[in-house]
């Protein structure tokens, strides 16, 4: 569950409603601090995961406070000081943290204006602010820096100060270069992988041979004899090595792996028949949404189709990393987790400590697209650091573990059925889906949701993944409710209660497969009735902003001017992310030869008020390319025992020479609230590619990924 859910669920009800996550982090000093040396420190609970959020938040603060961007110092999140904004997920940081910060800054501005007025002996309305200088009409001057006083912000937000109007010229809305990029481009230490603490040991974890393997025998003697090895740790099925040097830790792990005996079980599904397996499992069934027509329509056609997606890996470019250090009964952890407070909750459970004994500090990691191994490796580091006599311990996962042991995006099976009337209008729609839950995040259950905790002598319970409620966007059922004006619809979700492969949140959760299915099926209905897919969508949509992105993308891609060519095709996909976020429409153009090549993606997006135009474009481009990679290539491979896609060779992703051109059209709406951009393109891209492949070849691929093998298989089915 993200913060949106807590806010929607009315936690802390009774207190006055404050905007964004200011509602649950009410003290201004949690967010802002003025320093006498001309700097404003801004602390957000949302963290940088490669999406550029720190820059966008700094822009918001600078604009609201009337200071130069260079005066804003973004303070890394850490417990217990920074605001608890739960998890950086769901494309919600601008809404939750940006909104809170905008209002907190407005209050700070007003407090400092009042203070300046008092000290200068003038009326507040005679004052203006220029880069932190507070200037009276009389010419008398003060500044944030002169007046800097921590007690001024040591109070709860009142909720009575309105931020600047969106139309006022401020920094927001201008392209601002990312603040964190220079360090990364010049190779200056900034990533958690670069963090080196005095006396630090290097550690590696010996993962089980397969998800349900039991450690029968471990001979640590030869490993312990290697020079530079500090200790070999075992706790049930969990084992690891600690060494003075990194290369020694790597060697020691390789040695240890030879001296181990596992008892393995065949407990994984048959990957060749995954959709059938999903439908046959124990499940909790829920009607997600149902609408019954006022007057039943006469049905002249009924169509039905089944879709699926495989398990998908996060496949971040760096393996997960963490550092941990014990001081008696207190633990300090450095992590690239998306939710430092949630991680602290589970570490407290895992080590039976009061949360106040644990400090969790955020340090930037490589790109993060959901719940990856970041939290797990933090647990590994904490567990191994218990054998380090108070020295800090750095753990880096291997590439194989990153690909095989991070949680996966869940496999899904989807069945769709539609009724059409005489005029070719859709009068009823049914969507049924089978999937594991899409969240196993820490901090939400009675047992710690940390991989290593499952492998200990006293293992924590392996709880099956859950789904966030639909009010906060849903999980497996995200975007299963179609955005079209159908008079009748019924959406059913079967959440699997067993979880042989661990699943959790991956960028856009269920929306990727649901939108792929809904928009592919919509195309099938249009083609079946001989209607243009764009025209048929518009005919079933009354939402003006939905229509606008579809019209914009069709126009930019010159949809109606398309010249058919042998082996080439174009297709469209549309969704409003979570049915309450960004509107996004995509046109894909493909060339189908020996390989499927996506030549061009055109994306039109409406995220309301744009804070950083280039930030939005970068997120949409990146999302579109990643979605194209998922669509064309990606599937976690496994046999009945082990995950086998544990290298980049076995888990290929799209490469430079295969990347489509991506054009992004942003429909700016300065008067509308901002929504996130990071996940909006995922589903529409998959559908647009699938529809373009059909246009090119006349073959409908309903099971992702769309590989030449799948096309041949579909083609031979007829």
């Amino acid at each position: 569950m993200n913060l949106a859910y807590r806010l929607a669920a009315g936690q802390d009800s009774g207190a006055k409603r404050l905007p964004g996550s200011l509602h649950v982090n009410r003290r201004l000093s949690q967010w802002l601090r003025v320093r006498a040396d001309g700097v404003v420190e801004v602390t957000s609970g949302k963290v940088e995961i490669g999406q550029g959020i720190t820059t966008a938040l700094a822009q918001i603060a600078a604009g609201e406070l009337d200071v130069a961007l260079a005066r804003i110092r973004m303070v890394p999140a850490s417990t217990p000081r920074s605001p608890d904004e739960a998890v950086t997920s769901g494309s919600l940081s601008i809404q939750e943290s940006g909104t809170a910060l905008r209002h907190a800054c407005a209050e700070m501005r007003s407090i400092y204006l009042a203070s300046a007025a008092a000290s200068l002996g003038v009326e507040v309305d005679t004052l203006r602010i220029e880069d932190g200088e507070i200037i009276a009409a009389s010419g008398a001057r003060s500044s944030y820096w002169q007046l800097a006083d921590d007690t001024l912000l040591d109070r709860e937000a009142s909720g009575d100060v309105a931020p600047k109007a969106a139309t006022e010229p401020a920094l927001a809305g201008r392209a601002t270069p990312r603040l964190d990029l220079p360090d990364k481009i010049f190779g200056i230490p900034r990533f958690i992988q670069d963090l080196e603490l005095p006396g630090m040991l290097h550690a590696r974890v010996l993962r089980p041979a397969s998800p349900f393997a039991r450690l029968e025998k471990l001979d640590t003697s030869r490993t312990k004899q290697l020079p530079g090895v500090v200790d070999v740790v075992r706790d049930g099925n969990f084992a690891g090595v600690l060494a003075e040097r990194e290369e020694t830790a790597v060697k020691a792990l390789a040695r240890l792996a030879l001296d181990v005996q596992w008892n393995e079980t065949d407990a994984l599904p048959d990957s060749a028949t995954l959709p059938a397996w999903l439908k046959a499992q124990r499940a909790e069934t829920k009607v997600v949404d149902e609408r019954v027509a006022d007057t039943p329509a006469a049905v002249s056609r009924r169509l039905r189709a089944s879709y699926s997606r495989p398990y998908i890996a996060h496949a971040s470019l760096s393996p997960s990393c963490a550092l941990a250090q014990w001081n008696g009964n207190s633990l300090r952890v450095w992590t690239h987790s998306q939710g430092i407070y949630n991680l602290r909750t589970d570490l407290a459970l895992a080590f039976a400590l009061p949360p106040e004994h644990i400090i969790v500090e955020h340090v930037e990691g490589a790109g993060c697209y959901g719940h990856n191994g970041a939290d797990d490796v933090a647990f590994d580091a904490a567990l191994l650091a218990r054998s380090a006599n108070g020295r800090p311990v750095r753990v880096l996962w291997s590439r194989a573990d990153e690909l095989a042991w991070s949680p996966f995006g869940a496999a899904m099976a989807i069945e769709l059925e539609a009724d059409l009337d005489e005029a070719g209008s859709i009068v009823a729609w049914r969507h049924e889906l089978w999937s594991n839950g899409h969240s196993s995040r820490p901090g939400r259950a009675k047992a710690p949701a940390l991989l290593g905790a499952w492998h200990r002598e006293n293992p924590s319970e392996r709880l099956p993944a859950i789904n966030p409620p639909l009010v906060s966007g849903g999980g497996a059922d995200r975007n299963a409710v179609p955005p079209y004006d159908f008079p009748a619809r019924c959406i059913v979700n079967h959440r699997l209660l067993d979880m042989p492969l661990r699943t959790s949140a991956l960028r856009s959760l269920g929306a990727f497969a649901n939108v792929f299915a809904v928009e592919s099926f919509f195309d099938e209905l249009a083609r079946d009735g001989g209607e243009d897919p764009v025209g048929m969508r518009l005919r079933h949509l009354s939402d003006a902003r939905a229509r606008a992105v579809i019209e914009a993308v069709a126009s930019r891609a010159n949809w109606s001017g398309w010249q058919p060519q042998e082996g080439c095709g174009h297709g469209i996909g549309f969704a409003r992310y979570k049915n309450m976020g960004a509107w996004c429409a995509v046109v894909a153009e493909v060339e189908a030869g020996r390989e499927i090549r996506v030549r061009r993606l055109v994306v039109a997006v409406d995220v309301g008020r744009v804070v950083s135009p280039d930030g939005v474009a970068n997120q949409i481009e990146g999302g579109a390319v990643q979605a194209a990679s998922w669509t064309l290539k990606e599937a976690v491979r496994f046999d009945r025992r082990r995950v086998t896609s544990d290298s980049w060779e076995a888990y290929p992703i799209l490469r430079f020479s295969e990347i489509p051109s991506v054009e992004v059209v942003i429909l700016d709406r300065p008067e509308e609230p901002s929504t996130g951009a990071g996940e909006a393109a995922q589903g529409p891209v998959a559908a647009a590619i699938g529809n373009a492949v059909f246009d090119a070849l006349g073959v409908r691929v309903r099971d992702l990924p769309i590989t030449p093998e799948q096309i041949l298989a579909q083609d031979s089915k007829g």
Binding site: L317, R399, G622, F656
Partner: protein, 159 residues
Amino acid sequence: MGVRLTVNGAEREVDAAEDTPLIYALRNSLGLKGTRFGCGADQCGACYVLLEDRAVAACDTPLWAAAGKRVTTVEGLGTPERPHPLQLAFLAEQAAQCGFCSSGILVTSAALLRGNPDPSDAQVREVLDRHLCRCGTHNRIVRAVLRAAREMRAHTEAA
């Protein structure tokens, strides 16, 4: 008993076993953290450095193979005070999201531009094909490399 090599123009001695992968010597012994560990098997390109003038995987190059040779890391390409045209171009194009793949790509691109000052879009992609980017910033990266090539040519012609 150390291994001697020239790193970013300076003579260095590394106190590590000869079979130590170069990446650990650079990152841990010499404190040059810009070279990234991504896979340990030369499959992702994150750890590329120049060995003499050739881009190689530092995770897959033993220290002995670099003994007595010139090694250039991303830190050796340029600094904020004296940036390489590629680094300026990457910033100008905002050609990154998480930035974890950037170092290796900058190094390979520097080697490319040394041999071919005027590469085509397709040539840049071909050379960068061994580098993975998971955030999907490929097109920005290609634009940045082409921009740097243009600026370097303009600079050469002006000189």
